[in-house]
């Protein structure tokens, strides 16, 4: 296994033009600041999880990495280079979407869904080659007997089976990086584990760089090597998954962890404070975007945005509490 950085985002920012909303004066409408200045690295054979609430920008990051949206600012580097050719890029970076009911064309059989990327990316030319590779793909995602699944339509499959087809379709391009945007949140609890295990196996055995996007921090802890936490469009903490979940630094990560339902720890201290909701991304709070909800906010938090501080070589957080400058002053 190499420690090669396959896919990197460098200070990417995404602003969406708001089609409605208040206009300040007669100027342009303010944009929705969906993602602000996010940098990340995906390494071959490693699973990186990105967690955060809905609306925090994690799907937008995924879509920028998959080249569905162009970033407003910043660069996306594939093996250290910016790639302009979309097809060459997509051959290397593939995406699995959240909803397997919407991501497969209901009119086409499984064989068609898998044969198309094979042909488009030039991995198979003759019919025999296509058939052989389609069968191999189904085998890899454990949809066996292969002959039976090949000729099924999406509606004949369960949610978990469809998601496996979607994964096989992504693999057909023979990518080096796979972006899975909430791949199991639409699936039943009893089959989630199987799909996650499959993704894990693919990342390890085929040396794929996997970005696993989820709102379920417990599964991120279990499957990922590293965790990135996003809040209101910004990355606020990153580190090895065990460290981030056992010893979180940022107050938001702590809030997220304490809010996750945990049957083994029925909340004894009845903390009845209302924790509020994520802010508007059209006019985000000044300074640290988390400060209005933060239980330990300092005066400086509402004026100055915190910078990333290293807590350890591989554990970083953007919070004034850990900033030596703030603590000293």
């Amino acid at each position: 296994m190499t420690d090669e950085v396959v896919l990197a985002a460098e200070n990417v920012t995404k602003h969406f033009a708001a089609s409605r909303g208040r206009r300040f004066g007669l100027g342009k409408r303010p944009p929705v600041r969906a993602v602000e200045d996010v940098s990340l690295n995906l390494t071959a054979g490693r699973i990186t999880a990105m967690v955060g609430e809905s609306g925090c920008g994690k799907s937008t990051v995924a879509r920028m990495l998959a080249r569905i949206y162009p970033p407003t600012k910043g660069r996306i580097l594939l093996r250290g280079k910016e790639v302009t050719d979309s097809r060459a890029y997509r051959r290397n970076v593939q995406m699995v979407f959240q909803d397997p009911f919407a991501s497969l064309n209901p009119f086409h059989k499984v064989h068609y869904h898998l044969a198309r990327p094979l042909k488009l990316h030039g991995h198979a030319r003759t019919k025999a080659e296509v058939d052989e590779q389609v069968a191999a793909l189904l085998e890899r995602v454990s949809l066996t007997p292969v002959e039976q699944f090949m000729h099924k339509l999406p509606h004949e499959l369960s949610g978990g089976q469809r998601q496996r087809v979607a994964i096989a379709r992504a693999l057909a391009a023979q990518p080096v990086a796979l972006i899975a945007d909430e791949p199991v949140s639409m699936l039943d609890v009893s089959i989630r584990l199987g799909v996650l295990r499959l993704l894990e196996k693919l990342a390890r055995e085929e040396n794929l760089a996997l970005l696993y996007i989820t709102h379920d921090i417990a599964s991120a802890r279990y499957f990922a090597d590293d965790i990135l936490v996003m809040y209101a469009g910004q990355l606020i903490e990153q580190g090895p998954s065990q460290r981030v979940t056992d010893d979180p630094a940022h107050p938001y990560t702590k809030l997220l962890l304490s809010a996750a339902p945990d049957p083994d720890q029925v909340d004894d201290e009845e903390d009845t404070t209302d924790h509020g909701e994520p802010p508007s991304l059209i006019s985000p709070p000044s300074g640290c975007r988390f400060h209005p909800r933060c239980p330990v906010a300092l005066p400086t938090c509402s004026t100055t945005a915190p910078l990333f501080t290293a807590l350890a070589d591989d554990h970083h957080t953007a919070c004034h509490l850990y900033d030596p400058a703030t603590v000293a002053g």
């Binding site: 339902p261 945990d262 009845e270």
Partner: protein, 329 residues
């Protein structure tokens, strides 16, 4: 209670008997298609053709001691019963609230329709009071649903359910669409309101981990049948049915060491074509030959804890250690 739906007579719920005690939170867990929502809708008399209740009864015991079979209620009677004694909170508040009127007027609407004796001013005051109780400030009463966040909308839906002080509130996945932090705040709110008003809750969810900290008792459904029910603690600490055990070991834990996740192999069965005997046996790792022949009955395994599994019967031999009191997680 047993009932069929139209196309090909699907037994969506088959022979389920449950009691809901006054003021308790009963958690109903199961995967999609396990019949939990259908069961709740049948109780609330919300089923529409092609769904029909073919057998069974739903007895409602009033506080004054009188009892009625809800399934035999006439239109007039039902109109008086609904919302005054039994209210429903649906999964997506986005769809259950009217988008073209304000939330205040929707609370008002319920009051006007069910309680003719209140004056306009009284109703307005009550509406504001109800919204305040669920954590929506008075000035938000004039907001339209689209102006509120998902959490706020769900709170508004809960306020509407509370409007007439019902005895029972059925909550069908009330927090599934929400973020964990907001979800926890709302669950706390529900618990606090229950303390205050003393209503009973049927809480339907696919998220067993959430129920364990929320419910007093838990009932687990699989393929339209009740497979286990008992006190929440007992079900969590000592699951007696292999399906419950599998579910509990399917989601990763947030704290403590990374333990081996079992998961459940296979996929949920097709209700049109259920396996013979116990519907869970093809996915069960404790299954013996008898499981495919004999349908297990619910038996009391432990005081107050019932499970439908042959492993607890006389013919099975020793009960697997995982399913006995010794097999705690």
């Amino acid at each position: 209670m047993d009932y069929l739906t139209g196309s090909g007579a699907v037994h969506a719920v088959d022979g389920v008997s449950l009691t809901l005690r006054r003021g308790e939170i009963l958690g109903l867990a199961g995967e999609s298609g396990s019949g939990k929502s259908t069961l709740a809708n049948a109780v609330a008399r919300l089923l529409r053709p092609p769904a029909v209740v073919t057998a069974g009864s739903v007895t409602y015991h009033r506080a004054d001691g009188s009892a009625t079979d809800l399934l035999r209620m006439g239109k007039q009677e039902l109109r008086r019963f609904r919302w005054k004694e039994l209210a429903v909170v649906f999964q997506s508040a986005m769809n259950s609230l009217n988008p073209v009127t304000t939330v205040g007027s929707q609370v008002d609407d319920v009051l006007r329709a069910h309680d003719r004796s209140m004056s306009t001013v009284e109703r307005r005051d009550r509406a504001v009071e109800l919204l305040r109780r669920v954590g929506i400030s008075a000035d938000r009463a004039k907001s339209y649903p689209h102006e509120l966040s998902g959490g706020m909308r769900q709170r508004a839906a809960i306020a509407i359910a509370l409007a007439l002080n019902p005895e029972i509130i059925i909550m069908d996945e009330p927090t599934t669409a929400l973020d964990v932090v907001v979800q926890r705040d709302i669950l706390r709110e529900i618990k606090a309101l229950r303390e205050e008003y003393g209503f009973a809750v049927v809480f339907i969810t696919h998220d067993l981990s959430l129920l364990l900290s929320m419910a007093d008792r838990i009932a687990v459904m699989y393929a339209g049948q009740l497979v286990e029910h008992g006190a929440a603690r007992d079900v969590h600490d000592h699951p007696r049915h292999p399906y419950t055990l599998g579910l509990l070991r399917s989601f990763p834990k947030l704290r403590g060491p990374r333990e081996e996740l079992l998961g459940i192999p296979g996929t949920p069965p097709d209700l049109r074509d259920l396996p013979p005997g116990c519907p869970f046996h093809p996915r069960c790792r404790f299954a013996v030959d008898a499981c495919s022949a004999e349908q297990p009955e619910l038996t009391e395994v432990h005081s107050g804890q019932w499970a439908a599994c042959l492993a607890h019967g006389p013919s099975y031999g020793p009960v697997p250690v995982e399913l006995s009191a010794g097999g705690s997680r």
